[in-house]
Symmetry: C2
Subunit: 200 residues, 2 copies
């Protein structure tokens, strides 16, 4: 005996694929969506399709954007002398929310992870080196990858690769708990971590 009609069962299983959404949450969300007006439900679906279609990677920094270069890279008012290197597009959001950092970003879309076979060539590193070669403006690269093994490995790699060019490479201070995740760090800790950054 089938518990749900097929479209409902499919909606629940699609929702349950999302991170942090278990079967019960997926059921609740599905019934909520069914209780919405057509317009609201279709708007939710359309926002997913539109985001996937319109958002591309910025050709300069690698962040998600609907214009290329992105609004941060093309903003002349930002400090062109410093690039903050992060592992994922959402990390940019966390730094922007803190409203203290005025420089540029570079999004790696991952970290070097030898155990899982992810080398420097598998993440968005080449375009960072191109940026550094193209412009004399950059004086400092702040490595703000997550403070875990992979993030540290990536930081070490960047330090070794960039330092010979004379550009300062710094690492955000511990302050962000080791083994933790930028996503769950409060703004005050993030500010501390930026202030206490040290050369590597």
């Amino acid at each position: 005996m089938q518990k749900y009609s097929e479209p409902l069962s499919r909606l629940i299983s699609e929702l349950a694929k999302l991170p942090g959404i278990g079967t019960r949450s997926a059921q609740r969300l599905a019934f909520h969506i069914l209780s919405l007006g057509d317009e609201e439900a279709f708007s939710l679906a359309d926002s997913i399709v539109t985001a996937k279609k319109e958002l591309k990677y910025c050709s300069v920094c690698g962040n998600f954007t609907d214009v290329d270069p992105c609004i941060i890279c093309s903003n002349g008012a930002r400090d062109q002398s410093v690039i903050c290197v992060v592992g994922s597009p959402k990390d940019v959001v966390f730094f922007e929310r803190m409203k203290e950092y005025k420089g540029l970003y570079h999004v790696l879309h991952g970290n070097i992870d030898i155990i899982n076979g992810i080398g420097p060539e598998d993440i968005n590193l080449k375009s960072l080196f191109v940026r550094l070669q193209k412009s004399d403006a950059v004086k400092e690269v702040i490595v703000a990858t997550n403070p875990n093994i992979e993030g540290e490995a990536t930081a070490m790699y960047l330090a070794r690769a960039i330092k010979p060019t004379g550009i300062k490479v710094t690492r955000i201070a511990s302050g962000v708990p080791i083994g933790g995740d930028l996503e769950y760090t409060d703004d005050a800790t993030l500010i501390k971590a930026m202030e206490g950054r040290r050369e590597i």
Copy 2:
């Protein structure tokens, strides 16, 4: 300074409208969706649109269905002598999951709520009376509305309206905590509540 590009910002705000999804969860879900392949993301969006388009109310019991009558109402193997009246389509799921109840359902899509001006004519009650008039098969109506003020008011109304016809009207036993919600009740408690039902 805009924090997100427009399509991303829209996706996050659409996701944040869902129940139990705060801004941070919505951000996490949005970035997850962007990290999916096109096919997976479009499949999620399509499951929402398809569910909204294909799911209608069963003309007999009022539950969501893609065929009319629904697979429960049209299943001759189910006990045609008993109808379990519930407030919402998701309540049907909770009873079906328990795998003990073999009768039919009737979904009210709400409860009588005098304070908020919801009367008997505002919920799916008329079609229940039509069912009871049409068929001699029904011997018992189990009122399984939530055990709160509105659910009890609905149960009382049903008892008064149906008892004169000679059909037995029962109420699921307290066992489901008063003031609670069927959604958060474990199966064992639900089974107890069904067993201990009493005439009202």
